[in-house]
């Protein structure tokens, strides 16, 4: 999966969690939580969706690495390279 495809995947997951999420002005280097008004409960859903869709086991201590779209791509790129 390319970095762009990973970012698309994350946005698709968020759209599924919150149908009103607005991605128009989303900045890839700023925290997703602040920009999209997500709370910690919503955030866990991103992790759980990644597990469900791509069988990724993300340990709790790595959750902070999913903070921004760019950091998601950094962290997930090696894990999703064959998908």
């Amino acid at each position: 999966m390319t970095r762009d495809a990973i970012k698309e995947l994350i946005m698709e997951i968020i759209a599924d969690i919150d149908e009103d999420a607005d991605f128009d002005d989303l900045q890839p280097d700023k925290p997703l939580r602040d920009q999209l008004d997500l709370d910690s409960m919503d955030f866990l859903d991103i992790v759980m969706e990644l597990r469900k869709r791509h069988q990724l086991q993300i340990p709790e201590e790595d959750y902070p690495q999913l903070a921004t779209l760019n950091s998601c791509a950094d962290y997930l790129e090696p894990l999703l390279k064959d998908k």
Partner: protein, 461 residues
């Protein structure tokens, strides 16, 4: 098969936890002892009429657009459409302390503020300071018991106003006599006074159906009439349950929603002794023919009343304490279609052991129920006006009824006075949710199931 998660109890916390887990992993099993789910919040039939239990008015009213409101977060977590869920907001409610004072509140918090400003002028600044402290308080941090009564009194500096503010919050969920844990108080104050109350368009039956449908659609399994008699463990790790029918089921995690002591019992552990008393309630349902609209109470949704000089919230030494209580009009919600009958409900504190003494004699038990329902009627008629001539149907539930249908120890609807806020009771893979975790009410118990599953179970699968 070995279930990744087994949930004991099909009440609201158990079903919410089940939906949450099955959304990501369908192999979850809920075991419910009774033939009907819902636990404390359920329904039954009498004379072909459906009667609800638990649901008077749901707390945590929120508009769809208010994304972070607890109600909307809950719906998002369960992947239920909040837009399709129609709410009827309360009209207005009242805290009525006979011969002392009264306060009106509704889903607009400014109404309560202006009531306090006009009726407790000197205490208004203190009340606003209290509101500010409530706004900034984090009730979800684990702390030992802090007295809400002292917290409120140190700010409003008036015993009557303190008691009037605490009365509805205690009746809506304090498991502790004459007080409330501060964390709980903050949650309840926001849920009831700042957010407000509503009821769903349908009955409790439809609400439960919406939840179980979601759960089953996600692949979760639900077994009714299946009672757990033992939790199987090896030191501090559990690995399954034994059922009443002799069968055993293996699992990797257990979420128990049946109460702290009730769970310890299944684990074969000693129950720690406690001097704290559990609180029981009696609730009466009166269905009446339509009453003329000229009554002062017809526009109220709930009246929290007290007729004593000093308000107390404790286990009475008699069957029922009529000095205070809750009067609810389940039809008085905005936009609710007109019902065939008018419903009036009264709730009072009760003593489980007095009722238990009558358990052996069906005749004496029903006679007592009738006698005390009549007394309750007399007491509340003094507040809302006469309606006895119009009553076409009466039913009551006592702490004994609650114990029989929900298996709550001593029929105490709010459970143990001691709460286990983090859900941990000394096992690596067994957690507690529901009443004894400490979030109460319909929205609270569901959030309890969701948050314990999020915290302890989902990250580990």
């Amino acid at each position: 098969m070995k279930y990744p998660l087994l949930i004991i109890g099909g009440g609201l916390s158990g079903i919410a936890a089940g939906i949450r887990f099955s959304r990501y992993c369908p192999d979850v099993l809920i075991l419910e002892k009774h033939s009907r789910v819902g636990g404390l919040n359920s329904y039954y039939y009498r004379d072909k009429r459906i009667l609800e239990t638990g649901l008077h008015a749901v707390t945590n009213y929120a508009e769809v657009k208010d994304k972070h409101a607890p109600l909307n977060r809950l719906f998002r977590q369960l992947k239920l459409s909040r837009k399709d869920f129609k709410l009827h907001p309360q009209l207005s409610s009242e805290i009525y302390f006979e011969n002392q004072n009264s306060l009106i509140f509704s889903n607009d918090f400014d109404i309560l503020k202006s009531e306090i400003q006009s009726k407790f002028r000197k205490q208004f600044d203190g009340f606003m300071a209290l509101v500010q402290d409530i706004d900034s308080y984090d009730p979800f941090l684990s702390r030992p018991f802090i007295s809400a009564k002292e917290f409120v009194h140190s700010r409003v500096k008036d015993t009557l106003l303190t008691n009037m503010l605490l009365c509805p919050l205690m009746y809506y969920g304090s498991a502790v006599e004459n007080d409330l844990d501060l964390g709980q108080f903050v949650i309840m104050f926001r849920s009831i006074f700042m957010e407000g109350m509503f009821r769903p368009a349908g009955t409790m039956r439809e609400f439960l159906q919406m939840l179980t449908t979601q759960y089953v659609n996600f692949g979760g399994k639900l077994q009714r009439r299946n009672e757990v008699v033992k939790i199987l463990k090896n030191k501090d790790t559990v690995y399954g349950v034994e059922l009443k029918n002799g069968e055993t089921i293996e699992c990797s995690n257990i979420l128990s929603t049946i109460g702290y002591e009730e769970t310890l019992k299944l684990l074969g552990e000693d129950i720690p002794s406690s001097t704290l008393k559990r609180l029981g309630f009696v609730e009466n349902i009166f269905l009446t023919e339509k009453i003329e609209e000229n009554q002062n109470s017809t526009d109220k949704t709930i009246i929290f009343y007290n007729t004593a000089d000093k308000f107390t919230y404790k286990r009475p030494d008699t069957f029922i304490d009529f000095q205070s209580g809750v009067i609810c009009f389940p039809n008085n919600f905005a936009g609710r279609p007109s019902q065939e009958y008018k419903e009036i409900r009264s709730t009072h504190l009760a003593n489980y052991y007095h009722w238990e003494d009558l358990e052996g004699s069906k005749h004496e038990y029903s006679a007592k129920k009738m006698e005390l329902a009549d007394q309750s009627k007399e007491v509340i008629e003094k507040i809302i006006g006469s309606f006895r001539d119009k009553v076409v149907f009466t039913d009551s539930f006592t702490p004994l009824t609650i114990k029989r249908f929900t298996a709550k120890k001593e029929g105490a609807i709010y459970g143990s006075p001691k709460k286990i806020k983090d859900g941990k009771i000394g096992y690596t893979n067994l957690f507690l949710a529901g009443t004894d975790q400490g979030f109460l009410g319909i929205v609270g118990s569901m959030l309890s199931g969701v948050s314990i599953t999020n915290q302890h179970i989902l990250p580990k699968i």
